[in-house]
Amino acid sequence: MLHYEFMRNAFLASGCVAILCGFVGWFLVLRGQSFAGHALSHIGFAGATGAALIGLSPLSGMALAAILAGVVLGWEPTGDLRKDPAGAGHRDSVIGLVLAASLGLGLVFLQWQHAPVSSATALLFGNILGIDHATLGMLFLLTGLCLVGLGALARPLLFASLDPDLAAARGLPLRTMACAFMVLVALATAVCSETTGILLVFSLLVGPAATTIRLGLAPLAGLLGSAVLALALAWGGLALSWYTDAPVSFWISAGAALCYLAARGYRAAPA
């Protein structure tokens, strides 16, 4: 299996993506922002088509659009329930609107472009078996950057996520934190889904994290567990795909759902 370079590259790339997704996803699930994670990858589509229109590379367009959207998504809820009770439940619908608007925009870009890209679906399913050395190098670099960013953000982000009211009282700027995190997620999804597809990234973001959080692990254990589980899922999925010839993303998404189910059953049993 590892005899082929494309498989070696796929293992490296998916491992890299898995570790990043495991860490980022833990915070994403903790904060209840899976929808934002999903939306950001759609939003990247508008960016990619828009970039093609003005002659930029799709990756940079994707990253730009995602960062912009990250700021918007992080911005909306003030975080202070008392100042803005109406804004409280609106995170969810704002994501929906940004998602809809950017999909709409992507459609117009596509129409103006007169290029026969059906990138909407191409992006969705990605191409993890088609990763070359250059892409791999860039993936390592960008993943490293994202991990460093997350490392710097981790402590205040954890505080803001577990106890937002106290964090605000201690002077932590909740909105800035939310935006910074969303931008990080946006970058991570843009980078990862360009190489491995949205479906795979999304499964790795949500599945392992939801599993460890459902198990009730403490933050550090949860973070590590989530990264390890993501890695196991990614590599397991690749190996299974090799032997069964079903798409990698199928195995990974199925595995993610099964892990969560198992954790749920385990938790429900003693209670």
Partner: protein, 257 residues
């Protein structure tokens, strides 16, 4: 930090006058107090919510190491006043000083117990919640290790919440949760403790324990404490001052009155 400072309480401290009639107290030296700056001072502060004025031209200052009770009817602005101290609510007029400085710069020195708080992750344990606030505003990785654990355990056992610390917050009863939150407010050895109804939902014996703990903190560690509660029974004999909000004015008086 201030744990080793000498107690600053002065037993013979005389009751303050009603702020609107009062002589303006220069923020650095409340009469009869030690020469230090007051722990908290309001200078001509007007608080409002929307169009409604809650407090007009309030002036007072609390000496370091004192225990003050804030009373007032529902909706008269106790929580708003606390939020002003923490810089979460901007006063319409006037100035708030904490140890003589702007509230923004002193937030790290304040321990706060909000009246209600959201719990986005009720499946986490109290210990996790409290530990996450350790140096929570500084960038970096979440803290772990024996030192932090010791500090967290210390705060938990002071607040009488050690036996509750390893259960999911969502499973705790109201009073149990209140104790865990109180431990969180004590964690980073604050110089000023601002507690919004710390006794609500706590049983009678627990109320006495908490008041005794707070009294002890004032006397032994020189922490300045401002807490709100309904009715003075629980704090009788332990509080130094009483701040009463009534009809847009704030009255500071000796608690024994």
């Amino acid at each position: 930090m201030s744990e080793t400072a000498p107690p600053r309480f002065l037993p013979g401290f005389s009751p303050r006058l009603s702020p609107r009639l009062s002589i303006e107290l220069s923020p650095g030296s409340p009469p009869g107090s030690s020469p230090g700056t007051p722990a908290l001072s309001f200078v001509d502060v007007t608080l409002a919510q929307g169009a409604r004025i809650l407090l007009e031209g309030a002036c007072f200052s609390l000496p370091e190491g004192s225990l003050t009770v804030l009373t007032g009817a529902n909706g008269h602005g106790k929580t708003t006043l606390f939020r002003t101290i923490l810089g979460l609510h901007a006063p319409r007029k006037g100035e708030v000083r904490i140890f003589g400085r702007m509230p923004d710069t002193m937030r790290g020195a304040i321990g706060y117990l909000p009246q209600d708080r959201r719990l986005p992750a009720p499946q986490m344990t109290g210990r996790t919640l409290i530990a996450s606030s350790w140096n929570g505003t500084r960038p970096g990785l979440p803290g772990w290790g024996r030192r932090i654990r010791q500090r967290v355990d210390g705060a938990l056992s002071r607040a009488g919440a050690l036996h509750l610390a390893d259960r999911p917050l969502g499973q705790l009863s109201g009073g149990e949760r209140q104790r865990v939150f109180l431990a969180g407010a004590l964690l980073q050895s604050p110089r000023l403790l601002v507690l919004d109804e710390p006794l609500s939902g706590v049983d009678v014996q627990g109320q006495a324990e908490i008041v005794a703990l707070l009294h002890d903190l004032c006397r032994r560690s020189g922490v300045t404490i401002l807490l709100s509660c309904h009715g003075l029974d629980a704090v009788r004999g332990r509080a130094d001052y009483r701040l009463a909000i009534a009809g847009q004015t704030l009255e500071l008086s000796d608690a024994a009155l």
